[in-house]
């Protein structure tokens, strides 16, 4: 768009100028035609033009103002550097890529002069011996930018090659061209841009141009405006600036008005000021001057003949050689450390000398050392044309930090050159661009890391439920932070979390608005884990915030942060990653979670089938209590089995407009189709659902209602897990039959209770112990517990069926001797009643074939012990013997038993041997030694 407007702007002004020329040229004729020999004012004419063409004065003025400075705002070449990796470690390969802009050359035709400053290689004219060794690459005894260039160029040109002395047999010279490799037969005009003024200076040694104007005045070209005297109209013309002179001239005579207008800037040729239009004058203010000022008669300035314009590459130079001169002999190869037999030592497709001058070398890779700084000067042809009467464009250099002020130049000036018949002033600067290189060094560790970390957060579930009761069945809110633009892995990022609570989503404080940081309060109550740590990208909050005056959060009870049972929790995390260079990137984000907190709860029941007309419906049990109301696990997430019908009820006090949802789907209960407890037309506080899922599935039932007082929405939810029913046998009286002690273990979680000193006892679930002749009892334990009422049970002891002594219980005398055992088995069949199965079919269409019976079984062992031995008094020597025995390793005890057995066998045989009389006679056996081989 910009070039288009600029073209348009130029066209417009060209048009105005042409029109003005025609208008002013016809003025005398118009004066004759329309009476009154007067010269009309040009401003009046321009005003008429504006009106005719609907040109707004303000717009024209703005355009003109932009036009005045447009030449200073042209885009000059730039270069940007990108490092990979951003956080280099010492010794690591580091690549820097240069991205040049606003050159007319292609990237491969530019010359990239890389320079690398090692940490100890600061510029100095008197380096230490160590610095000379480490940094003085050209051996001139100084540390200059040429040493930095050679440092980089040798890395680039050698590319790992180890110099070996050999005769030069390759042809690897390269002749560099000013302005880029593709600039052939184009005049060389090199420029430097003053980034402050935007002015472009040609590199040259021209001096200042001086006009001999009095102090306080400036040289301008001016034309005078006079009043034509009608009576003297035939008088030969005179000098407009001296109308009364009466000398020969135009066929007008002028009345001296002493009014002049600026017509241009004078040139200086041969010591004489020269104007293309008007006369050279000195005026105080050229912009507003109307007075003709004083005459300007002399000046001094350079011309193109006296000025030496120059172009100089910034290539690295080895002493005695010129880089890019097309000659790259053996000595120069040796100086650069290139392979004299390989024209392309770096194997990058360039000749060695082309690599030295950086032809197309937009990427520079080296082994990074701490403190290294790198820069590049890119030489090419800009897109700006010169004023010279040839095909040239400005040859310019781009620096990595664009920091090359004209103040570094030895001097600035200008010269005049006759171009197309006009004297054109060309500003010049005598400038060694090498002075800019130090200012354009870039520290690789400062690139890119300064951007902030992007932290995104998410939290689940969307609307969690806080359990104010001691059940602690509130939802677990999981918050996850993601840092997509981290340069380190998540394991190296430090997270710091903060949790706030408020009764308004804006988290404001004020009248009736409360907000507080509750991080520490939550941690104190063990509802929140660590909040600061490396790799801590997730946080979990158990929403079991009690609501009482004694439990304060941020100094207030929970109720202060609730409006209609709704509160907000804001999780904030600050992430930061550190780099070896000391740079720290930080990011911050937060997520707000709306939660419901209420003392109300969805109560679950095992629904009863009821016959309504000819269809079987369901109802809340008349006398049965709620299920999942005792075990804390069930209170948190009710365990149910397949084909159960669950009734749900909420205390309706203070609530209206009920809506039920199960797993995101509306759960509708009607009086006509489901239950007499429900009502038609709208939902009430009762609902039912069949457990049709398989073990492992879960249901989340959500009830939403309006608080009749505040009209705020109250949301309650409860989770049901479908499980395989379980059956276990447990002792009726642990004092009579107790689980077998298996050993002890050390609790590493720290969460186990009843563990003295962290050492916990481990008891068997299936092996019990009792004393012989005691009466023991066992009971059936169903999971879920309410399944037991629908189960048919059969107990057996050692394979013989026994009757229950109570509902789900057996009791018997353990009459077997000590060390003997009983095998106790319980089999159960759980089957829904036919009415329930029909209700499943009638209400929800669940086929009776999908609700078969479920068979369960469990078996335990009861080991009997000797009462006296085990029950021995824990006092006196027996206590210590028992204690010693308990500490002896079982392997020792086993060995001791075997030893006793061996002793017993030997004793028995020895005893028998001594009892039996010796009546041996080998002949009496009749077998004896006739086959007995001879003995020793």
């Amino acid at each position: 768009m910009l070039p288009f407007f600029r073209r348009k702007q130029k066209f417009f002004f060209a048009f105005i100028i042409v029109v003005q020329m025609f208008v002013t040229a016809t003025l005398p004729v118009q004066a004759g035609l329309f009476g009154g020999p007067s010269i009309p004012s040009t401003s009046g004419v321009v005003s008429d033009i504006q009106k005719q063409f609907h040109l707004d004065t303000g717009s024209l003025q703005s355009q003109g103002e932009n036009f005045n400075v447009a030449d200073n705002k042209k885009l000059t070449p730039e270069v940007s550097l990108f490092f990979n990796p951003n956080d280099p470690r010492p010794g690591e390969k580091l690549s820097v890529k240069a991205f040049p802009m606003y050159f007319s050359n292609s990237e491969n035709a530019l010359y990239y002069t890389w320079y690398l400053k090692r940490t100890e290689c600061s510029l100095t004219e008197a380096p230490s011996a160590l610095q000379r060794t480490l940094c003085d690459r050209d051996g001139d005894g100084h540390i200059r930018v040429n040493d930095w260039k050679i440092e980089a160029a040798q890395i680039l040109v050698q590319n790992g090659y180890t110099p070996v002395a050999a005769p030069d047999s390759d042809d690897d010279g390269y002749k560099a061209r000013y302005g880029g490799d593709n600039k052939v037969n184009t005049p060389d005009h090199c420029y430097v841009n003053d980034s402050t003024t935007g002015r472009n200076y040609e590199l040259g040694d021209a001096g200042d141009t001086n006009f001999t104007c009095p102090a306080g005045t400036s040289p301008v070209c001016m034309v005078g405006e006079g009043q034509i005297n009608a009576e003297n109209i035939d008088v030969p013309g005179s000098d407009p600036l001296n109308p009364t002179s009466g000398t020969s001239g135009p066929a007008f005579s002028f009345a001296d008005t002493d009014v002049c207008y600026v017509s241009g800037i004078p040139a200086c040729t041969g010591g004489t000021p020269l104007c293309n239009v008007g006369s050279p004058r000195c005026v105080a203010n050229p912009t507003t001057a109307t007075s003709c000022g004083t005459a300007l008669n002399a000046c001094s300035a350079d011309s193109s003949n006296t000025v030496k314009s120059y172009c100089e590459h910034l290539f690295p130079e080895m002493p005695g050689f010129t880089s890019g001169d097309g000659s790259f002999g053996g000595r120069e190869e040796a100086a650069w450390g290139t392979d004299p037999s390989d024209p392309d030592t770096a194997d990058n497709g360039n000749k060695d000398e082309a690599n030295i001058v950086g032809l197309g070398q937009s990427t520079f890779t080296w082994n990074y050392s701490s403190g290294d700084q790198v820069g590049v000067a890119v030489e090419g042809t800009s897109m700006l044309t010169t004023k010279h009467d040839d095909s040239s464009s400005m040859i310019m250099w781009a620096f990595s930090k664009k920091n090359c002020p004209i103040t570094l130049a030895k001097g600035t000036g200008s010269y005049f050159k006759n171009i197309k018949g006009y004297q054109v002033e060309i500003p010049t600067a005598d400038f060694d661009l090498n002075k800019c290189l130090e200012r354009n060094l870039v520290d690789p560790t400062q690139g890119g890391q300064s951007t902030n970390l992007e932290v995104t957060m998410s939290a689940t579930p969307d609307t969690p439920l806080n359990d104010e009761t001691a059940d602690k069945g509130g939802d677990l809110v999981a918050v996850q932070a993601i840092v997509p633009n981290a340069l380190n892995s998540i394991a190296d990022i430090l997270f710091e979390w903060n949790v706030e609570i408020s009764n308004n989503v804006q988290f404001r404080t004020g009248a009736g608005l409360f907000t507080a940081d509750i991080t520490n309060d939550l941690r104190t109550r063990n509802l929140l884990g660590n909040t600061k740590g490396i790799s801590l990208d997730s946080l979990r909050l158990k929403l079991d915030l009690p609501n009482s005056g004694a439990d304060l959060f941020g100094g207030r009870p929970l109720s202060r942060y609730l409006l209609g049972g709704i509160g907000y929790i804001r999780f904030t995390t600050k992430a930061s990653e550190n780099f070896a260079s000391g740079i720290v990137r930080k990011g911050k984000s937060d997520v707000i979670v709306k939660f419901t907190s209420s003392g109300k709860k969805i109560t679950a029941y095992k629904a009863d089938p009821v016959l309504v007309g000819t269809a079987m419906h369901v109802a809340l049990p008349g006398g049965g209590g709620p299920i999942c109301n005792v075990d804390p696990i069930d209170r948190a997430a009710c365990r149910v089995i397949k084909n159960e019908i669950i009734g749900l009820k909420v205390d309706s006090a203070g609530l209206s407009n009920f809506q039920w949802v199960i797993n995101g789907t509306p759960l509708v209960c009607s009086k006509a189709g489901v239950s007499p407890n429900c009502q038609d037309g709208e939902q009430n506080n009762v609902n039912f659902f069949p457990v049709s899922g398989n073990p492992g599935d879960s249901y989340t039932v959500t009830m939403t209602a309006n608080d009749v007082t505040t009209s705020e929405t109250v949301t309650l939810s409860r989770t049901f897990h479908v499980i395989e029913p379980g059956l276990f046998i447990d002792s009726l009286d642990p004092n009579m039959a107790w689980p077998k002690f298996l050993g002890q273990y050390t609790d590493v979680t720290g969460s186990a209770t009843d563990c003295i000193g962290g050492v916990c006892n481990n008891f068997s679930d299936i092996v019990f112990q009792a004393f012989s002749d005691d009466t023991v009892g066992f009971k059936a334990v169903f999971l879920p517990s309410f399944v037991g009422s629908a189960a048919e049970r059969q107990w057996s002891i050692d394979g013989e069926n026994v009757d229950e002594s109570g509902v789900g219980e057996i009791s018997f005398i353990a009459s077997k001797p000590a060390l003997d055992m009983y095998n106790i088995k319980l089999e159960a069949v759980v089957v829904q009643s036919e009415a329930t199965r029909r209700a499943l079919l009638d209400v929800w269409g669940i086929s009776q074939l999908d609700s078969p019976e479920i068979r369960l079984s469990s078996s335990n062992q009861l080991e009997l012990q000797e009462p006296g031995f085990t029950k021995g008094p824990l006092q006196g020597p027996r206590k210590y013997l028992a204690a010693i025995a308990s500490y002896i390793p079982t392997s020792i005890m086993f060995s001791f038993r075997i030893l006793l057995s061996v002793a017993l066998i030997l004793f028995t045989t020895g005893f028998l041997f001594s009892l039996i009389p010796e009546r041996g006679d080998q002949r009496s056996l009749g077998l004896a030694s006739r086959k007995y081989p001879s003995r020793e």
């Binding site: 075997i898 045989t909 009389p917 007995y932 003995r935």
Partner: protein, 217 residues
């Protein structure tokens, strides 16, 4: 070694000792609280090694030479050992060729993979196991208890050994070498009157069998 007359008392009590020992081995149950390997080692040493030696020294008050703990007849020992090992190896070759013995007879993995473990296995475990069997079955049963039964002693001790394996359901291809060499070891002990020869021959046969099958695998 002197020739002792047949003694009913000695015959009966030694028989009871053998009966007690084998009965204990058969009826004893493994403890759940002690490492099974440890139990096996302790029981084996106690009943196959300690009891025979202690019985001989403490109850019978006889020299251990009576149960073959001596050099014995060198020439007979050497001759029968060479003959027995050759015969047993030939039988193993036949079994290898005509049955699936080679496929089922496997050494522990680590022994098959690591040479040092193979050496340790052969020198320590195999030789020790062979010693236990030699002391109890050839020393106590064959030489001390049934020595007056002549060659029948070899048959009976073999029968007891095989019977014990069958009773404990421990008969498999893995037990073939030990079953095979049981009567041959009895022959060596019987003729040489020394457990050393039978022990050495047993170990050599087991070692060569293991090497052969290891190479074949």
């Amino acid at each position: 070694m002197t020739k002792t007359p047949f003694s009913y008392r000695r015959f009966i009590v030694t028989g009871l000792l053998v009966l007690f020992s084998l009965g204990f081995l058969y009826f004893s149950e493994q403890s759940d609280t002690v490492n099974p390997l440890f139990q096996t080692i302790v029981v084996s040493i106690a009943f196959f090694l300690v009891i025979p030696f202690l019985y001989s020294k403490m109850v019978l008050k006889e020299s251990l030479k009576n149960m073959g703990w001596q050099k014995g007849n060198v020439w007979l020992g050497m001759f029968t050992s060479i003959l027995s090992v050759a015969l047993a190896l030939g039988t193993v070759l036949l079994f290898t060729r005509f049955t699936s013995f080679a496929e089922h007879y496997r050494l522990p993995n680590i022994v098959e993979r690591e040479f040092i473990w193979f050496i340790l296995y052969e020198l320590v475990l195999v030789s020790f196991t062979a010693l236990l069997y030699e002391v109890f079955f050839r020393g106590l049963i064959e030489l001390l208890w049934l020595r007056d039964f002549g060659l029948w002693a070899i048959v009976i001790q073999t029968g007891i050994f095989v019977g014990l394996l069958f009773l404990s359901n421990d008969v498999s291809w893995q037990k073939l070498p030990i079953l095979l060499f049981s009567p041959l070891s009895g022959v060596i002990a019987y003729y040489s009157r020394s457990l050393w020869w039978s022990w050495g021959a047993s170990w050599l046969f087991f070692f060569l069998t293991d090497v052969f099958l290891l190479v074949r695998h």
